[in-house]
């Protein structure tokens, strides 16, 4: 019977190869055998997505391949998640995210959402073509720690400024990330956003980077235990 480490290697490879059936089968075996689901997520799924991110960066993989990998990851995560113990990484929280009104491009947002979910955040996904006031209302009602706004179209982007102002006015501690093709660092900072990703590629990269740092935190937490 393979060891846990071997299962993780197989799981990682299944994500990289976008082999959903294989990812699901290994995840199920891990659960059936009562093995460490959290280790499987971090050392298998997330490790696999890190390779995918690198492939994407190197233009070996493109958006379709990235989506296939994400699909394999999601399917395995569904099986593993109920069996994950809570490890306190100091990063738990709620995230509100959506694509602003006038824009229906949500692939970047969906990948980032997946990464947040893998990392254990509770995500309130408002979807796409979301009226600006809905972001403000949702943040105020849920007291979410973070709001992520995405826009691919320039004309839709200008509405972000107003959302940031309204949220920061009521809740200065809320972190606001904005992303999308027309967003620049200068605009993000001018409008009071806490972070930005200028395009879909960058949003994916940022999400992978976030997961990578979580991986390190997880390993440090394991070492402490």
């Amino acid at each position: 019977m393979p060891s846990m480490d071997e299962y993780c290697v197989q799981l990682k490879q299944a994500v990289v190869d976008y082999n959903r059936d294989q990812a699901v089968a290994i995840a199920q075996t891990i659960v059936d055998q009562g093995l460490d689901a959290q280790k499987a997520v971090f050392d298998g799924l997330i490790a696999g997505m890190q390779v995918v991110g690198k492939y994407y960066e190197d233009q070996y993989y493109f958006v379709p391949e990235m989506l296939m990998c994400a699909q394999a990851l999601y399917s395995a995560l569904d099986i593993l998640k109920p069996h994950m113990p809570q490890t306190d990484l100091g990063l738990k929280g709620q995230v509100v995210m959506g694509v602003v009104q006038g824009d229906v491009h949500d692939i970047g947002k969906n990948i980032v959402k997946l990464m947040f979910e893998v990392a254990g955040f509770e995500v309130k996904d408002l979807g796409r073509d979301v009226p600006l006031d809905d972001f403000v209302r949702e943040q105020l009602s849920s007291d979410a720690d973070m709001v992520c706004l995405s826009a691919m179209m320039t004309t839709t982007m200008t509405g972000m400024r107003e959302v940031i102002r309204k949220i920061k006015e009521k809740n200065p501690k809320c972190r606001i990330m904005i992303g999308g093709a027309p967003v620049t660092e200068e605009l993000a900072s001018k409008w009071g956003a806490d972070g930005y990703a200028p395009d879909a590629n960058n949003a994916l990269r940022e999400a992978i980077a976030m997961v990578s740092s979580l991986h390190e935190m997880y390993q440090q937490a394991q070492a402490r235990d």
């Binding site: 989506l67 296939m68 006038g102 073509d129 320039t154 509405g159």
Partner: protein, 353 residues
């Protein structure tokens, strides 16, 4: 430069590679400005289904800034709507928004194989409105400026009809299904293009926006998209332009192979390098940032960018996307002025020199 031609003669001369008196400042994509809307005293949502307003608004950039083409429509949903999508024109939203797809024509991938282009689709949605606007533009301005229109490329159009992530996934997992849909849409794009030409469009731009290497691999472009674009180019009368947003360095030669008279690229493209890869008879347009430069830049930056683009080897001063409505009037003035003042001198590929 000493002008011996009017805008129409210059643009059409350039597009058919005849000698012209300098580079043209125009594009085959949208050029609506808030200044134009204010001049007509109309709201953006009110123009999408009104041929008179559409034509009048398209001509404002010529009248206000000397832009050398008038292009309709203004949004990317016209063909998709005629093929069965429901659109949102944001009638009651205070900020200016472009129409988007509210409901897909093929909401479930299981229905993709059965999708058929309706025999009378050219009469559906706003296609008749766009044709009427083209007729009006040609009648009103056909002696002075070039009248253009655009269609989405087959793959980008497929992304309007089907959920985009599903289309991408199927492009890997069920290639044949995607190819069959693209085959039907290629015929639809050609039919729309021919109807626009018949209505009065002098030139057509095909916008295959979802095909850049930010999204798809060059091999996917070559095997899945290029055959459709070749068919579109071969079936439409010249002049026709192929536009692709985003990163195109690795597919620029493949774009040229499609058979269009010109290719249009964004600033992410290295035009100097592309010029080496693209046959001399294929014109290169673009490389001028329609948002960061024209909306947020200064007139001095615009002038510099125009000069650099011409030095790099573009054949027209052509913003590489729709002119954003919020573009500053002084920047548009600077773009046209820079073309007139130094264009003829800097345009080293001038076919007439």
């Amino acid at each position: 430069m000493e002008e011996t031609m009017n805008a129409r003669q210059r643009v059409l001369g350039l597009l058919t590679r005849r000698p012209v008196d300098g580079p043209a400042c125009f594009s085959g994509m949208g050029n609506v400005t808030t200044a134009g809307l204010e001049r007509l005293e109309c709201s953006f949502p009110s123009v999408h289904a009104d041929a008179v307003k559409m034509a009048d608004l398209a001509a404002t950039s010529f009248e206000l800034f000397g832009y050398e083409s008038a292009v309709v429509p203004f949004d990317l949903c016209v063909e998709a709507e005629a093929l069965g999508c429901a659109i949102n024109t944001y009638q009651d939203v205070p900020q200016l928004l472009y129409p988007t797809i509210r409901a897909k024509a093929i909401p479930r991938t299981e229905d993709m194989a059965d999708f058929q282009v309706a025999a009378d689709f050219l009469e559906r949605g706003r296609l008749p409105v766009v044709r009427e606007a083209l007729r009006r533009l040609r009648q009103g301005y056909g002696d002075r400026l070039a009248v253009g229109s655009y269609m989405l490329g087959p793959f980008t159009l497929a992304g309007q009809l089907v959920e985009l992530d599903q289309l991408f996934l199927l492009s890997l997992s069920d290639r044949r299904l995607v190819e069959e849909l693209l085959h039907k849409l290629t015929a639809a794009v050609i039919a729309v293009g021919l109807s626009y030409r018949e209505a009065g469009a002098d030139f057509l731009t095909v916008r295959e926006m979802g095909a850049a290497t930010d999204i798809l691999s060059p091999r996917a472009f070559q095997s899945l998209i290029q055959p459709c674009l070749r068919e579109v180019a071969a079936s439409l009368p010249p002049p026709r332009v192929l536009h692709i947003c985003g990163s195109t360095d690795k597919i620029v030669a493949l774009m040229a192979e499609c058979g269009f008279d010109a290719i249009s690229v964004e600033p992410k493209n290295n035009v100097r390098a592309s010029r080496e890869l693209v046959p001399p008879e294929t014109l290169i347009f673009g490389n001028l940032d329609a948002f960061k430069l024209l909306v947020h830049g200064t007139p001095a930056q615009v002038t510099q960018a125009v000069e650099e683009a011409l030095e790099a080897g573009v054949d027209a001063v052509w913003p590489s996307c729709d002119i954003w409505p919020e573009a500053k009037v002084e920047n548009l003035d600077a773009m046209v002025a820079a073309t007139r003042q130094r264009g003829a001198e800097l345009w080293w590929r001038n076919h007439g020199s």
